[in-house]
Structure formats: structure tokens, C-alpha cells
Amino acid sequence: MTTTNLKTPLTEKHEALGARMTDFAGWWMPLQYKGVREEHEAVRTHGGLFDLSHMAEIVVTGEQREDFVQTMVTNDLKKLNFGQAMYSCLCNLEGRIIDDLLVYRFENEVWIVANASNRSAVVSWLEKHAEGMDVALDDRTEEIALVAVQGPAAEAILQPHVDGLDLSTVDFYTAQWGTVGGQRMLISRTGYTGEDGFELYVENAHAGVTWDLLLQGDEALVPVGLAARDTLRLESGFALYGNELSLERSPYDVTLAWITKLDKEPAPLAKPALEKAKESATTCLVGLTMEGRGVPRAGYPVHQNGTPVGFVSSGTFSPSLKKGVALAIVERSARAAGTELEIIVRGKPQAALVTKLPFVRGSVKRHS
């Protein structure tokens, strides 16, 4: 399980750029190039370039593809227009989270983008439930690379390389096919940084050309590794599987009711369990900001007036706020913004304030 045997088509680019590489869910990935702070700052102020080719792309086709996906995921696929995407959970029959996903609805297929670490769990869960249905699953992870440009200047950075597509017509959380460097690819206005940006689903063979075009086309565009990806998503209040999300929690335990639609048609397979989970949930996900200099880390206990109320699920020093920030799973009685809690940092209680998420509001183009 810990063997690193998968490489993205951009591995050589990362090594040439002097990246520190690491094993991530079996993939040999860039952890950082010049340093977390510099990379983080670049994304917040201008633009960063990411190799996310480890993400799993599963293409679903067949007559019953939409009903099938609708019963598998928690969010409502049928509310999407063609080309639109949604964030969703995939839950087991106990209502616990197998993975969090991005799901795209297209005219003739549905794309499911899953975490690298959960790829085999997601694929086998889907395969098991697709049996007997007019549904075909194609795990294209190792054929499709994913290159992301994220930051307030993302559109200006990418547009000069795109033929035949005006990026201003690509709405937030939608995707359109376009041509970059002469190659057709899926251009999606999505990301995991809180900034405006695009994720390019490109065939492996063309990933290198796309990467070079973008990097050479903008002197201030900075390659960004997984370490800064984590600080960026944390400042944005985005959950991470393995930290906030796990097989032990339902979406209701971590404030994901907004992507859990029990009354949609057809209903999610996990509906009975999810109804129970909704009733019995006592926790929620909150943001915490340290008042002093301490840095919260995953696993640190969270107290309220000396009484345990939860734990830190992700923590870091926020490069933007210059303070320790955390996502924490706490009792719902402690969730109101402004509530004074304590994070136990190496045995010592340190003051922390419940903070409305996101910690940092980026340039992302939101719409209702």
C-alpha cells in the first residue's frame, strides 16, 4: 500500500524545477518547490500552477448512468445543467463517508473525480452497485492528467493559450471543452484554493506541453506543491478526506448537510442510514483561530472552559493571516462564531476563537 509506483506525466518537470518529491497515496508528487509560504502567497496574489494528476477520474456512461450516480452520491445530480459540476459525498450503507467527490454532468456521460487515496474504494463501491444496470464505468485516472491554474489572475494567465473559448463564459463550477496548445481538453472553473481558477483535464501525452506553455507564458506564475495546497484549502475552510472526512463520520457530523439531499429522486441508496445519522449527529465542523502564537495540529484536543468538546482535524500556521488556524470537529453547543474555546497545544490550553469559514475569502467567483 505504501509503495510508490505511480508517476504523473509531469514528474520530470517537477524534478527539473527542484521540487521536493513525496509519496502521496502511491503517487510520486511534488510537496514543495521554493517553499510553502512563497507558493501560498503566489496563489493568493497572482497565480499558481498545480499538478493534480493523481486525482481519480471515473467516467460513467450507459442509459442508466444518471439514475445510478444519483443513488450513489449525496448531492442532487439532476439539478445540474450539462457542463455543470457539484461537490458531493459518496456514502456507504451506514451513511459514512467513503470519499468526497466532484461530479460533472455532461450530455452523454457523468464524470466522477475522487481522491487518489480513495480511488480503489470508490471504484469498487461503484462497480459493486452498477451490477445489473445499463451503466459502464471507466477509470481513466492513469490516462488523464490534471493541471490547475489557481489565483486571482488565473483567467488572464490561461486565456492567451486557449483557442475558440472565451473563459469569461465558463462559470464557476462549470466545465467546457476547449483547445490549449492545439490540444483539446476539459476546462473546468473549479479548485481547492478559494481563489478563482481552472482545472484542466488533459490527456497524459499533452500534459507536459500544457504545463510548459503556462509556466513560460507568465513570469509570475509559480509552481505549487501539495504542502501549499493544504494551507490554501485550510484557509478556505475546505474539508480533506482523512482529516475532516472519514469512514467513521456521516456528512452531518462535519457540516455537510448542504450537499446531502435525502428527498431527491431517485433517493440515495444510503438514505435510511443518512436519516438516522441526521437525527443522531451531535458534532459539526468549525473554524478556530488561535489568539496567541501557537500552531494547532491535527489531533490536538479542543476544550470549552476545561471540558473536552472535540478535536482539531486540520491545523496550520496561516500564511495569509499570520496566525494558527484549525478546522475542528466539536460539539454543536460550541459552534457559534465568537465562542471562546481552548486548543490543548502540547499539554497547555491556548485560547482559540470559533471563526466563520472561510478564514480567507479569495477571488473565487461565487454564484447562488
Binding site: 514543495q32 510553502v36 509560504r37 501560498h40 493544504d230 495540529r297 496550520t316 502540547r346
Partner: protein, 132 residues
């Protein structure tokens, strides 16, 4: 890269020996592994340390690491740049100048035999090589 005039520990600390005084910091390798350092906790002057004691912590953006005392002795000085209440607070000095401006504490030892167990630069270089 690894200064020849210093001694080293397996916890990636360096020691500059001047009589019974030992200046302590973390190595280039250690700061490089930690990444951007944002906070350092070092002991008060006067604190007694035993070799191997946890004497402080280094927080970087991505991780936290304990500091282990390389010698037994008394803390007689600490670097003001690492004191968060100081006007000169600059923990990133450890990244930019691990062997010089990023020093952490000075410990006075009772006996110079306290330095006997430390590695010299070539032993440390070999240690880093094997570990990596």
C-alpha cells in the same frame, strides 16, 4: 554545507563549543526538512537541561518538531530573534541562517566531557546521508 568547526547530534542539532559554553541551533538539513519556520519555543535563561531533554519546539507552517538538548548544563543566553514578544522577532532567521543568526540558546556545561558524545562534521554528514 556542513560547517567543520561544529559538533552535531542525531536530532540534527549543532553545537559550537567555546570552553564550557555551548551555542546550540538546528542544522541546515533540519530547517530544510521543516520548511518555513514561524515560531520557536526556547527555555528561559537559568533553566537546567539534561542531555536528551526536550528543551523547546520549532513550529513551521507544515509541522512541529521537538528540540532535544545536546548537552547537560544551564541555559545562560537565548536568541532574542526567537522571542515572540521581542521587537526583533524573526523566526525565519533559522531558515536563512541556521548556523549563525539562527542560533537558539547558549548552555554552560559543568564539565567539558559533556561534549564527548557529539558527532563531528564528517560523522554527521554520513549520518544525514544514511538517513535520507
Amino acid at each position: 554545507m556542513i560547517p567543520e568547526d561544529l559538533k552535531y547530534t542525531e536530532d540534527h542539532e549543532w553545537v559550537r563549543i567555546d570552553g564550557k559554553k555551548a551555542t546550540v541551533g538546528i542544522t541546515h538539513h533540519a530547517q530544510d526538512q521543516l520548511g518555513d519556520i514561524v515560531f520557536v519555543e526556547v527555555p528561559e535563561v537559568g533553566r537546567e537541561l539534561e542531555r536528551g531533554d526536550t528543551f523547546g519546539v520549532v513550529e513551521s507552517v507544515k509541522t512541529v518538531s521537538d528540540l532535544f538538548s545536546p548537552v547537560t548544563g544551564t541555559v545562560i543566553e537565548r536568541n532574542e530573534a526567537l522571542d515572540e514578544s521581542s521587537d526583533n522577532f524573526e523566526p525565519e532567521t533559522i531558515n536563512s541562517s541556521p548556523y549563525k543568526d539562527g542560533w537558539m540558546i547558549v548552555v554552560e556545561v559543568a564539565d567539558e566531557s559533556a561534549f564527548d558524545d557529539l558527532m563531528d562534521h564528517s560523522a554527521y554528514a554520513a549520518f544525514v546521508e544514511n538517513e535520507g
